[in-house]
Symmetry: C2
């Protein structure tokens, strides 16, 4: 796979052409239906077509980035750390939520070991890109070094370049990492300036007492490490995670090579937030899959300026929301391609068109 530095990738990112978007919308406006009546489906089609220059999805891939978190030793998750590699094996076996939902929309799932505390042998469906076997506990120091943060980002960028070469025209993000709502909340707090209590939620299902403790752990990590909100790489390094960095890099890479990227839920959006703070036009390429139950998610999406496509009260991660959202994007393209114009259909136009 070809290397592309973070610097080069950021240099390549351009905003999606407003002229192209308007041209595509003008075509949609000729279709035999009340103007704008397909609502957000029109937006999905417009953006996908403007970015890719195509009106079909050739290949879809969802990358489920996995990593472990030193902060788990603070007791912030309902699940033990050993579940991270167990779930990676389940992704490879095809028995997890993401496999079932990706199957439904015909997307390939690739698990990426960004930093699981487990030695994987080479396996089909798994990319081993391990930065280290888990981050450090951010209540005692930075989660990772700055070079490690950049390594995560450049790994994600590399995957986007690989997708571009392989003819993938729609990419999805996903995550697996026991404890990873904690660094995600820390990132959102650091970048938005909101207090930890406003962006921290129950993850896989902790009780009130553990939630209070989790908030205190995040507050401690932020106070100790003082991540610089104006330096997203610093935020990633100080309180982030390897899989979150991989997601951030993938999002940057997709913007750089021109692939629409469907960002899953809370953890993915923390990654997308890092990415979109690094370049103003990254957001043009992001499709926010869904609104997670995690309370920090909407704050991240507001900052990215993308509205979630679905709200199904999900909180599984893995890329499950991204898989569903891919189905909606393909539906929007089916409408874009398939609806005849008023003229073609011989339908009389309305008086308020």
């Amino acid at each position: 796979m070809q290397q592309m530095t973070l610097h080069t990738a950021l240099d390549k990112i351009k905003g999606v052409s407003a002229v192209k978007l308007a041209e595509i919308q003008a075509q949609i406006n000729c279709q035999c239906k009340p103007k704008g009546s397909l609502g957000r489906l029109e937006e999905f089609a417009r953006r996908y077509v403007a970015i890719t220059g195509q009106d079909t999805v050739e290949k879809k891939v969802i990358f489920t980035f996995a990593g472990d978190h030193g902060v788990v030793e603070e007791g912030i998750s309902a699940f033990p750390k050993e579940v991270t590699p167990q779930m990676v094996y389940t992704f490879i076996d095809g028995g997890a939520g993401i496999n079932a939902l990706a199957r439904q929309v015909g997307a390939e799932v690739i698990a990426v070991d960004m930093g699981v505390d487990h030695e994987f042998k080479p396996l089909s469906g798994l990319m081993i890109k391990k930065v280290a076997p888990g981050t450090a506990n951010f209540t005692r120091g930075p989660a990772m070094t700055r070079p490690q943060a950049i390594q995560c980002l450049e790994t994600g960028i590399e995957l986007a370049v690989f997708c571009k070469e392989a003819g993938v025209t729609l990419v999805g993000t996903g995550d697996m990492g026991i404890g990873n709502t904690t660094p995600s909340a820390a990132i959102v707090a650091a970048i938005t300036g909101l207090p930890a209590g406003k962006v921290t939620h129950r993850g896989t299902g902790i009780n009130d007492e553990m939630l209070e403790h989790k908030i205190a752990v995040i507050e401690k990590g932020l106070a100790l490490n003082q991540p610089d909100a104006n330096d997203p790489v610093d935020v990633l390094a100080k309180v982030g995670g390897f899989e979150i960095g991989g997601i951030a890099g993938l999002v940057i890479g997709c913007a750089a090579v021109g692939i629409p990227v469907v960002v899953d839920g809370f953890i993915s959006s923390a990654g997308a937030l890092i990415a979109s703070e690094l370049h103003i036009h990254v957001r043009d390429y992001i499709f926010a899959a869904h609104k997670s139950v995690e309370i920090g998610h909407s704050h991240a999406l507001e900052r990215i300026k993308q509205k979630p496509m679905l709200d199904l009260e999900m909180r599984l991660g893995e890329g499950t929301g991204a898989a569903l959202a891919m189905g909606l994007i393909e539906a929007s393209l089916s409408a874009y391609r398939g609806i005849k114009t008023f003229d073609q259909a011989g339908v009389t136009k309305g008086g308020h068109q």
Copy 2:
């Protein structure tokens, strides 16, 4: 096709078994994911499986009921009445929004002429069930007679029986009828008791002045006809529409024969509201596809006690929202079938399961 009277259909409706629902949820709770983390997808799968006893969708059909409305002569729509048959021909040709979106999910589209002011020749993809060539103008008297209202309902029921015999396991509703947001708003106002101004919106895109006029037209129709809120058939007859009656009948029929029915947007929900007022357990079989832009829609859904699955700011009708929602139901079943249990996957359970 077999006949079933309204009375017989209503007699057959039973609530979906709470025991079955709990058993299915217990199975879902064994899957290797945090409990409840697929949110509403779990609800969709649970209800579909409980109703059908199956975990796959065999055949999907969307019925797009078409009818004309006498009240159009009051100038309440942005489109002229001739568009109703023109769009029916477009459905048959496969060039409308519903065709494009149904294609994406593999659903068949059947247009049903319930009362279009146009003589159709027999055509594949069209069922001619015309009650009359358009309703009467409800500002001058009832939209239809009570026997006509019952004829609409029994036509819808007949289609559900036909689906059951044909092995269809998921049905969708759709509508086409220039002016039909006006009777829909009138139905919602009549049944909920809300003022017309609270449930009336812009339909295909009328301006402020026409909206004010449309509200006045509905108020006039309600005042003149005095539909009895406790007699849903009377409401349908006084201020309804033939296609709305067909939808109501289809929903009743699906509940009677045990097929989950995906109810599209505002017009379909007005039909579903008539249906669910006729029997308390009709709602158990309803999947509310999406939240329409029409302001009366959420009031109808609140009364039916079903939460919309999608909110994509759509307002096209035809069954377009139902097609998208069918995709989500199938995704929920893919998750139901495809996710391994903790034991099967060898994944450690969390402490708060």
